[in-house]
């Protein structure tokens, strides 16, 4: 597929990353209680394999991934399961079944935690299966199970693995901190992922506003002397780090609409995922922790924190000096695509790369916004990285015109929020499009259901008709035989 000659649109945004990156990564000790959501961000839940009252060791499996889009959940600490109930969580829908573990303080480590001896000897299929058991999921924000992505990449014959170190969204800098402090882990993980995905080469992509990270990764690559592992520096434009846009920028191919990156021969993983894979290979730990940026004007000392999955966000914020001023929103993610959470008792998930506590200084402009009609200025189209026409999409969305929505590409929208950001009429475009996609989904589901019901009804009518005809024939044959008692000829029916 031909690549676009210039990067389509996007915008340079204020980064707000300086504050959090100044201090070193805080290694947060295990909390006294963890809240593990069984939906770790991808939209599909794992199935619990424990019950309330069970004692678990650190690293033990507590929920199994039956669905390919769910990822296994492990206990980050040793303790007792005190609750398994639906709670508020940082996932779509706002709620998930959660397993709550009270730490016993004991240092028990589960038997399943064992370093992977010689990952180079494992076949790609074995690597993928082991990663599935270890609950490795994407740490870039979507939480998609890594083994599923790698398996489909191998199936479709992907040739390039792209490691996403772009981190284009404002406020988030956990990947930057990771690359600066553990570039060797990233590179080791890259090699393992490259083999598991079956790709020939691997490219690590970093934005040009992270010079220290670029230097660290360059040195780590040089130490390895692997020709098929390279670094690509891309301009710091939002949303260059979004999967599709990154692939086009690095590999020069376009992901087909409605398709997967693997259809274009590329598979994309986040650098933090690669580092987690390296941790797993060297220590045998399933995915139990991650680095998360805790920042915003509502946090006293912004910084990056390595914390256990399931750590309540309140503990993360406390580790960074606690709240400051009048916090208005607690956002899981960055300022452009993050999800506002209702409570700080929600547990850290694998997909949460940033905890953003905002005050009026940060989001005042959005809060005070008054929506006016669209003046057709076209700024939205000039920044859309997917080449869409948001103003036409808005009209279609308001009119609930499904054919127009499909034709204009509402499903090709990557939900980056840029159109919303630049709109002078301050229309909440991103939200309208999310709603429109939901309406399309529901309408299509209803149409499919109706078509199936129609077909089944026709079959039902035909079946009844055939039964009635057969019954009539049987009745006739019995009646005929009754009228000719001496006739021994074979009768049909019965």
């Amino acid at each position: 597929m031909a690549a676009r000659s210039t990067f389509p649109a996007g915008l340079v945004l204020d980064a707000h990353k300086q504050q959090a990156c100044e201090s070193p990564i805080i290694e947060l000790p295990l909390p006294t209680q963890v809240v593990l959501a069984l939906d770790q961000g991808a939209g599909y839940s794992a199935e619990p394999v424990v019950a309330v009252g069970d004692a678990v060791a650190a690293g033990a499996l507590v929920a199994r991934a039956d669905h390919p889009f769910a990822s296994a959940v492990h206990a980050p600490l040793a303790g007792i399961i005190v609750a398994m109930e639906t709670r508020e969580a940082a996932v779509q829908g706002g709620r998930s079944l959660c397993i709550v573990i009270d730490g016993s303080g004991a240092d028990r480590i589960d038997d399943s935690v064992r370093p992977v001896t010689d990952p180079a000897s494992l076949s790609p299929e074995e690597l993928v299966q082991r990663m599935r058991d270890a609950g490795i999921a994407g740490l870039g924000g979507a939480g998609f199970p890594t083994p599923t992505k790698l398996a489909s990449a191998r199936e479709l014959g992907a040739h390039t693995l792209v490691l996403n170190g772009a981190e284009c969204e404002p406020w988030i800098c956990c990947d930057d901190a990771l690359m600066r402090s553990a570039a060797d882990d990233v590179v080791l993980g890259a090699l393992i992922l490259r083999r598991a995905a079956g790709t020939v080469r691997c490219v690590i992509a970093i934005e040009d506003d992270k010079p220290a990270a670029i230097a660290a990764v360059t040195k780590a690559i040089e130490r390895l002397r692997d020709d098929a592992l390279t670094l690509a520096v891309i301009p710091a434009v939002y949303p260059k780090g979004a999967e599709r846009q990154l692939i086009t920028a690095v590999a020069g191919v376009e992901v087909p609409a409605g398709g997967l990156p693997a259809d274009a021969g590329v598979v994309c993983q986040n650098v933090a995922t690669a580092a987690a894979v390296a941790r797993w290979a060297t220590r045998g730990e399933p995915m139990l922790s991650r680095i998360v940026t805790v920042t915003g004007s509502g946090v006293a000392h912004p910084g990056n924190v390595r914390a256990a999955i399931g750590t309540p966000l309140a503990a993360l914020i406390a580790a960074c000096g606690g709240y400051r001023g009048a916090p208005l929103r607690l956002i899981a993610g960055g300022s452009m695509t993050g999800r506002a959470l209702p409570s700080d008792e929600v547990g850290l998930t694998k997909s949460m790369n940033c905890v953003l506590v905002t005050t009026r200084d940060d989001i005042g402009s959005r809060l005070g916004a008054v929506e006016l009609p669209c003046i057709r200025c076209g700024d939205c189209a000039s920044v859309c990285p997917a080449g869409l026409l948001p103003q036409q999409l808005l009209r279609a969305a308001l009119a609930d015109a499904h054919d127009a929505l499909r034709r204009l590409g509402v499903r090709d929208c990557i939900d980056c929020g840029l159109c919303d950001y630049v709109c002078p009429s301050q229309i909440p475009l991103a939200d309208r499009f999310r709603h429109a996609r939901r309406r399309l989904l529901e309408a299509e589901a209803m149409a499919n259901k109706a078509a199936a019901a129609r077909e089944r009804h026709e079959l039902h009518k035909r079946r009844l008709q055939q039964a009635a005809t057969a019954e009539q024939r049987a009745f006739d044959s019995v009646r005929n035989r009754a009228r000719q008692p001496g006739d021994g000829s074979a009768g049909d029916g019965n």
Binding site: G138, G241, N270, H457
Partner: protein, 181 residues
């Protein structure tokens, strides 16, 4: 003001209007819309619940009745206001509110058989217009949720009232979030 010119202009405009109107009327009368295609298009807008609340034995007979003018478009509660408006747009009529005489719209529902009370009499099986109940005489019956349209036709035949209606499961929430890191 030239009065003659005004009079002539008015007469010409009126004559044009009459001529064009007559031509349109003749065309409407002579060019019959394809009747069967219309039934298909009406049927495509109906929800296929096959419940019979419109007093026709299924959605297609109702579509035929609408096409022939025997029934109005306001009789389908499962289709709700959305369907009435779609039908009105198709048939170029004004939309009307749903006629409550034919039932009230309900949120999506599916039937559920309480297996502890089911006696296996198999009377509900033929009642289902889409064959969504599996079972056999003296064997357990169950409703295939994915195929149940919520038409409620299985409730009357059941002698032990073991069938109840539950909210239909929501459409899958799966939407891949963009990896905008």
């Amino acid at each position: 003001m030239n009065l003659d010119a005004v009079v002539i202009a008015v007469l010409v405009a009126a004559a044009l209007a009459v001529a064009l109107g007559a031509a349109l009327g003749w065309a409407a009368a002579r060019i019959e819309p394809d009747a069967s295609a219309l039934v298909e298009r009406i049927d495509a807008l109906l929800p296929q619940t096959q419940c019979g609340q419109c007093l026709f034995p299924g959605c297609r007979p109702y579509a035929v009745a609408i096409a022939s003018g025997a029934a109005d478009i306001d009789r389908c509660p499962p289709g709700g206001e959305v369907t009435v408006r779609a039908l009105a747009a198709l048939l170029d009529r004004a939309p009307r509110p749903l006629d409550p005489a034919f039932g009230m719209p309900k949120s999506a529902q599916v039937a559920w058989i309480d297996e502890s009370r089911c006696i296996g009499c198999a009377r509900c099986l033929p009642a289902c217009p889409v064959d969504a109940i599996v079972g056999a005489p003296r064997l357990m019956h169950t409703v295939i949720t994915a195929q149940c349209t919520g038409c409620e036709l299985c409730l009357p035949p059941c002698p032990v009232d073991c069938i109840e209606l539950r909210p239909a499961p929501a459409v899958s929430r799966h939407q891949r979030r963009p990896c905008a890191a």
